[in-house]
Amino acid sequence: MSQAAQQPVTERKSWKPLARALLDRFGYGIGLTVVVLLMWEVGVKVGNVPRYLLPPPSVIAVTFVADWHIIYLNIEPTLIAILAGFALSVVIGVPLASLMVFSHLAERILYPPMVASQAIPKVAIAPLFIVWMGYGITPKVWIAFLIAFFPIVIDTVIGLRSVPPEMLQLGRSMGGGTLRVFVKLRLPHALPNVFAGMKVAITLAVVGAITGEFVGSQSGLGFLLTSASGQMDTALVFAVLVTISVIAMVLFAIIEGLERLAIPWHASMRSRKVGH
């Protein structure tokens, strides 16, 4: 069989050494950050800005090290709230999306309250949650869930719906019933969208957990944020903000890593490999 025109598209192996690749990936970001920090440092010094308004990066770094034990103690409760809220949003969001794809009635019933729940500012209903659930971790988890589940539902619905109709016909011609077509066709087909939703959701879960701690909590990074700003300890506020950003980035990277493991076949993963 002549297959000269049908050679498979093989993956290109990266010829660059690791250091070069890392520089390529992170170099620009690090470079930009350094420039901004330098301008900040110089600007604050030259303009004589008081520290309680805007501390220079060097002072923030010192505070970060000095107050690390306080920050560290408050990471755990926040992290648990984020992860629990995120897990809930996946465990509830994906089946909810499936239900909405299965049944038009469910879609018509569920969509309006879902959209409404997103339109209401979480800060506005957080006090209610605290009245109902107390000062523990529970209200934080539910606020994180409430803000994070929406993108998961929306993206999963899109993914489940975008199976080509011919593919569904093929599934039926192979004798697949509704359930089998769903599990073996729709769900894997929707996986890239589910991951897209999860990436948005994990960052929103961070926002939700912090919001919950803002309104009423005796621990967590959100609580530390409010108490630090109450004491005009602006440097600590910045140090906590940096910590929150790092947590969000790490969680995001973990989801991305899972995505790469779960859907290596998807175009978004392949174009990455070729080096863009």
Binding site: M1, Q7, T10, Q169, S173, R180, H189
Partner: protein, 291 residues
Amino acid sequence: MARPETTAGSEAAVVGKSTNSAVETNGKRVARDGDAPLIRFSNISKFFGVGPAGVHAVDDVSFTAHRGEFVSILGPSGCGKSTMMMLASGLIPASTGSIEIDGRRIVGPYTELGIVFQQDLLMDWRRVLGNVLVQPEFRGMRARDFEARAIDLLKLVGLVSFVDKYPYELSGGMRQRVSICRALVHDPELLLMDEPFGALDALTRDQMNLDLQRIWQENKKTVLFVTHSIAEAVFLADRVFVMAPRPTRILEDIRIDLPRPRDLDIRETPEFCAYVHKITHLFYQMGVLHS
């Protein structure tokens, strides 16, 4: 599986031009089954929608295809040939008339068949072998029992070294070969192919025609093959149904008497050219082609 109860007498009710070419091409099965029809369309019409906005897609189509017969359904693009495939598979119901496969009347999705669509419809998340084995999996059968046959089929189409590749690592022709293996892995009697090579380049298409002929000769399936290429239809088929468009109906049922196996050179023989000429002329008469 129930033996069809039909007799030669009842066949007279169907299109008279039905042939006995199965005798030549399928000696082994004929010895077992006689001249048994596998699929029979009786006065099939299909309307989509109602009233003036409705579309009359298929008009009073009747034919019988025998076991092991290769039938090309030839017509211009968008004339409703695909609708005939959907009707044959029971995925859409006919408006009037009845379809029997293997002596059973089709009322819902008929699953004892393999379908190859114009798009390969491979599942991106499954490797090549997994894409072939999806067929038994969907039927609730143990995929492992079909692995040996899947590998044999992939060998037959020259893809045995690609079993662990993902579809994105294959070319268009290779992907369509995988989808043909998927359609055959459960050894169905009937193979429906809906313009399977329409999206391939001309050279790959020629190669696929040769491959399909070989697969068909080794597996002895009844094939309904929809195409808009006259040469492809004649090259592959025992019979060519020339379809008239809007609504689709069988204009002529032409028996192709060319020796097998056929190679690409046969397309230059006077016999082959006579068939092509005859069909081209029919399309001129219909106004599908005009000078």
